[in-house]
């Protein structure tokens, strides 16, 4: 299939269909699929046995039913939504679309986020109840207009305690027994390795939806957990493979979608990815990957260049501590820098610097910086010198 032809087709339909408003003729018809489905690469989702194309649709931001139908027609069969997306509109849109399709022709995954989970610790609170969870699940089923969902995730889990929440996990297992849910899983964006390890130890989870991309500082640790989960039969689905989509807050430096998707699919433990799609151009790019996951030299170059972009946030790998001749608490100083420039929270940066007691110019004793092993490739001396000037500002001027 010629790439340009397919793109034009997806976006515009058949040539010559346009007419002036007053003209007559023509009929509305669903356009035929343009992807050769025999070329689509499938992988099996762990012990579920589900065979899924390596590209699925992250529906979260999509609000155009035509885009979902275009995905279906082009061989994408797995669709990922959640109870909370677009205040429920997302599930409603999918329910309205899928009621016209054979239930076995698609795989629908949704997620329910329990109430009251502490954002910082990820721990459940007294407000985290099975009643709330089930109410939301029933709400989702009503919107989706389905007898069952294929995968139900406990959404946004970041602590082993939440992954092991007794009442909610019991309710999920019951839903599976009742047939209202085919498989149960967890979605995790934070502290993923610990969450995945907990799932493996628990022994009853079917699927994990995890953040996975080339920018993660703890990639090696995450890949160990993924491998362990895969060996235990847990199906692995990757999300956030494009690391936010942009490298800058102004959204001028986009991540290369195809390179990023192909990079994640080099890990054979990953069954599928769920790139968010809001345009036919995005679908077109994703369809190029669904039949070809081989990384090109250009893809590799883009990934390498991307990894070298430092960003703003210290990963606290602590590699720097051994090399700093001044024995400075470098990760803490990077955190102060992040508070000031990332969070615009001068008070917190000032307070942290005061606690650290490193003074207004802690690098002045060194002629050059010996730290050359920062995983984020920060110019550490420059950042420390910059942020430490804040120490000179009296506290009463910062409220």
């Amino acid at each position: 299939m010629n790439k340009i032809d397919r793109r034009k087709f997806l976006k515009s339909g058949v040539a010559g269909a346009a007419t002036m408003l007053a003209a007559t003729g023509g009929s509305f018809a669903m356009l035929p699929p343009r992807t050769d489905k025999s070329d689509i690469i499938y992988r099996t989702l762990g012990k579920t046995g589900l065979k899924i194309p390596v590209i699925s649709m992250g529906v979260m931001r999509a609000d155009n039913p035509s885009l979902v139908r275009a995905c279906l027609d082009n061989g994408i069969t797995h669709f990922d939504t959640a109870n909370g997306y677009q205040g429920g509109r997302n599930e409603k849109m999918l329910g309205d679309i899928f009621r016209d399709y054979d239930r076995k022709s698609f795989i629908l995954a949704t997620k329910v986020k329990p109430a009251g989970v502490e954002r910082r610790s990820g721990l459940p609170t007294r407000e985290t109840t099975v009643e709330d969870f089930m109410n939301k699940f029933e709400e989702s089923m009503k919107r989706l207009q389905m007898d069952y969902v294929d995968i139900l995730y406990l959404h946004s889990v970041s602590s082993p305690e939440m992954a092991n929440h007794r009442e909610i996990t019991r309710a999920m297992k019951n839903l599976k027994k009742e047939g209202r849910v085919k498989y149960i899983g967890i979605s995790t964006h934070t502290n993923e390795p610990d969450v995945i390890d907990t799932m493996v130890d628990a022994g009853f989870w079917d699927v994990v939806l995890t953040r996975y991309n080339f920018t993660l500082s703890y990639l090696e640790r995450l890949e160990e957990s993924i491998k362990r989960a895969s060996e235990a039969g847990i199906g692995i689905i990757a999300m956030k493979t494009m690391a936010g989509g942009y490298f800058d807050r102004e959204r001028t430096e986009p991540v290369d979608a195809k390179a990023a998707l192909r990079w994640s699919l080099q890990n054979e433990n990953i069954t599928t990815t769920i790139p968010g799609m809001t345009s036919f151009d995005m679908l077109e790019e994703d369809l190029e990957v669904i039949t070809d996951i081989e990384m090109t030299g250009e893809d590799r170059a883009k990934i390498i260049a991307s990894v070298e972009k430092p960003g703003l946030f210290c990963t606290t790998c602590n590699n720097c501590l051994d090399l700093c001749t001044g024995k400075l608490p470098v990760p803490d100083l990077m955190r102060a820098y992040m508070y000031a420039y990332g969070y615009a929270n001068i008070e917190k940066a000032h307070s942290l610097l005061a606690d650290l007691g490193t003074g207004p110019d802690p690098c002045s004793d060194c002629s050059d910086c010996k730290i050359d092993n920062c995983t984020k490739r920060f110019d550490i001396r420059s950042k420390i010198t910059d942020i430490s000037r804040l120490v000179k500002v009296p506290e009463e001027f910062i409220i």
Partner: protein, 284 residues
């Protein structure tokens, strides 16, 4: 750089630097925990995970958060999302509202669901939530909503572009603002949208009113050229064509407004003309 700016400010009697840059309203018998960072586009993802993509696409600038605590049992969370302009704030507010909600007037508009009040005012989208079902706490939640609304500057009217949508057949509270990829096309951006239902004819109208003449021309040329057409001399034009997976669309434009209708068939040309005529006449 921010710090350089601060150092310059370090002159006795000069401006006072604030951390959160916002004074949260007080609530009787509640203590305020405002130790959250101010979230920005860089790190909003840390707070709301993947939903951050939608917020950032709609001009998200900062998020201010406070927890109001009464003893150890009851709390109310206040989240103030600041977006780049009124239309974008409306966009994110509208994306998360459902037409079936219990709406009332607070700021531009508010709605109430179990344990929450969400409202829009100017560039601010505010969410106030509590897991408590105690009447006193829910009353405090309402009070906090009123106080927050009074504190925030900005318009209490819907974006003016919405007034161009004809009322007949319009589904109440179906209006949206879409910043990018309208109908899945990367060249169609910044549109208001409303759903209609006339005699079982369900259709959607998109209005592009924020673009310059040059932007409109470029947009129309790209859209029509994919179908072997050209917009001709601006302004003024009407087309009907099949737009791939989107089906048939009616496209028309006047001096400053571009109208796109999807969901109507060729037999509905009179209906499409009626709506296009009303919109373009209202824009003159």
């Amino acid at each position: 750089m921010l710090i350089s700016f601060m150092i310059m400010l370090f002159i006795p009697g000069s401006l006072i630097i604030k951390g959160q840059q916002i004074d949260f309203p007080l609530l009787d018998k509640f203590e305020i925990d405002d130790s959250y960072p101010v979230y920005t586009p860089d790190n909003l993802w840390d707070y709301i995970n993947g939903a951050a993509d939608s917020y950032n696409a709609l001009g998200f600038k900062e998020l201010y958060i406070a927890d109001y605590k009464r003893g150890n049992k009851h709390s109310i969370k206040l989240e103030i999302y600041h977006h780049a302009n009124d239309n974008l704030a409306f966009g994110i507010y509208a994306m998360e509202r459902a037409p079936s909600y219990d709406f009332f007037k607070l700021g531009v508009q508010a709605y109430r669901e179990e344990g929450l009040v969400h409202f829009l005012k100017g560039e601010y989208y505010v969410k106030i939530t509590s897991h408590s079902d105690k009447k006193k706490i829910l009353a405090a939640l309402d009070e906090l909503a009123k106080k927050t609304e009074a504190m925030l500057e900005g318009s209490s009217e819907f974006p003016s572009g919405l007034a161009l949508f004809p009322e007949k057949g319009r589904q109440e509270n179906s209006e949206m603002y879409i910043a990018e990829n309208v109908m899945g096309h990367e060249f169609l951006n910044r549109a208001f949208r409303a759903n209609y239902n006339i005699d079982d004819n369900r259709f959607t109208i998109y209005l592009f009113i924020e673009n310059s003449d040059a932007e409109n021309k470029e947009m129309l040329e790209q859209y029509l050229s994919d179908h072997g057409l050209t917009p001709g001399d601006m302004p003024g034009g009407k087309f009907y064509f099949e737009d791939g997976y989107n089906g048939y669309v009616y496209l028309a434009w006047g001096d400053e407004t571009v109208v796109l209708i999807s969901g109507l068939r060729e037999a509905d040309t009179n209906l499409a003309n009626e709506y296009i005529g009303k919109i373009l006449a209202a824009d003159e």
